[in-house]
Symmetry: C2
Subunit: 235 residues, 2 copies
DNA sequence: TGTACATCAGTGAACGCGCGTTCACTGATGTAC
DNA sequence: TGTACATCAGTGAACGCGCGTTCACTGATGTAC
């Protein structure tokens, strides 16, 4: 994950990149020394104070930057995946009318999105490592910020699922709960994906199955079992 | 979580307890200083070296101790929950014969286990905080050790589900995958449970729904949808 | 049972080092008039 | 357009402090004979 697109002062950017790098390779953010960071960035230790009050502020700046760069690409992924299965200008077909078509479509979008998401993870490992590490790290401020990020991602996912009609109608809350679980799991799995390149295909399949099971189970639990069974039987 | 039952040397125990406490309140393990730890334990800084080579060794000792103390109680929980629904000496009824009974039983065990698990978490918050924090922490050694712990827990869960017949027959692998996801999620949620006492009831319900959805969905995905629908309809 | 010795857990002083933070400074860029 | 001043990003030296680690020591417990 490069921070170079932004209009930050050079030194600030260098410090953020150094923190991201050191965090990924060896240390959690709160075990990082100011001088170590400055050394990695090729700057005077003092320069840190020109841009940040403390490490939490640095962490927040990184998280904000990362979130901005990741959030809309993730939505793009889902849209692209949905369109690759059913072009945007096709007539809408409800789950009631053709469950089989809709199920196939949902499964396909699921598969595509998982694949694209993990591609994205593999391209920006440091951002995800920092996010996952600090989500349960020692700083309450960063924990809170990252939980908010995850919540936003979940909300995006729920909105997209609704808009793209990827599931039979659920209550807003149920849909959000599922999205939350999926988001959490995908972030967890992204760590495994980064660390175990030889198991990547397997992890993709696991993720797909997890999402499918969770959504199908939720559909059954909310009284859409009959529709689902119909879709499965006619296959 | 107290370490007092073991036969460790006093100083070793004091150091482990101090680490657990400091880890929970402020620092990740690798941001902890040796002198800080000794101070908390009321010992000479030097004493650390009598028992541990470095912080990883300390971390491993804690993890081992914790795992020993948590693993079998967790299995106990499931057994107790299962027996509270169907006494151990009742005749076995297969899912085919009476899906409704088995579903009700599974849901009940689910509910009970979730409740007891979170009780356990609330009683031993520091152990869970350390586990979750270091699972994605900076030390590869502790990460590996904790992943192994999670794998063991998952295997236990899969074994228990099979033995107590809490789900229709699945392949060994599928069952294990579900157990893995549930384990991961429960540990994640345990952090929320610890941090947000006012949302505890809500978190319990969420966890139950997550497990129910995941297992039902998996059953549907593996061709047991008909049995499941039968069980749901006759309710 | 007594004696001699080894092991073990813990102490206290001392070391050199890297740390965070402060201060006064520099030179480039932006802005008012 | 030029001038004067302010702001900003970055520097370099200096400080006192807490750190990890080492050494030589102590006193209690265990063990061989």
């Amino acid at each position: 994950m490069s921070l170079s697109k932004s209009v930050l002062a050079q030194g600030k950017r260098l410090l953020m990149e150094a923190a991201l790098k050191l965090n990924a390779s060896t240390r959690s953010l709160n075990a990082l020394s100011l001088r170590e960071l400055a050394r990695e960035a090729g700057l005077n230790p003092n320069t840190f104070y020109r841009h940040f009050k403390d490490f939490d502020e640095l962490g927040l700046a990184i998280i904000e930057e990362m979130t901005q760069q990741i959030r809309s690409p993730l939505r793009e992924l889902r849209r692209k995946a949905a369109e690759s299965v059913v072009p945007a200008d096709s007539p809408v077909v409800t789950w009631q009318e053709n469950p089989r078509l809709n199920l196939a479509r949902a499964m396909q979008v699921n598969r595509e999105t998982v694949k694209l998401f993990f591609d994205y993870v593999a391209e920006n490992p440091n951002a995800f490592i920092l996010g996952i590490r600090e989500l349960h790290g020692a700083s309450p401020i960063l924990r809170r910020a990252l939980r908010q990020v995850m919540d936003d991602f979940s909300q995006d996912m729920a909105d997209d699922v609704r808009e793209l009609k990827l599931m039979p109608e659920l209550t807003q809350d149920s849909l959000y709960d599922i999205a939350e679980t999926i988001t959490r799991e995908m972030f967890q799995l992204s760590m495994e994906y980064i660390e175990q390149p030889e198991r990547r295909e397997q992890i993709c399949i696991k993720a797909e199955k997890m999402i499918t099971s969770l959504t199908m189970g939720s559909a059954v639990l909310h009284g859409h079992g009959a529709i689902l069974m119909g879709a499965l039987q006619t296959e």
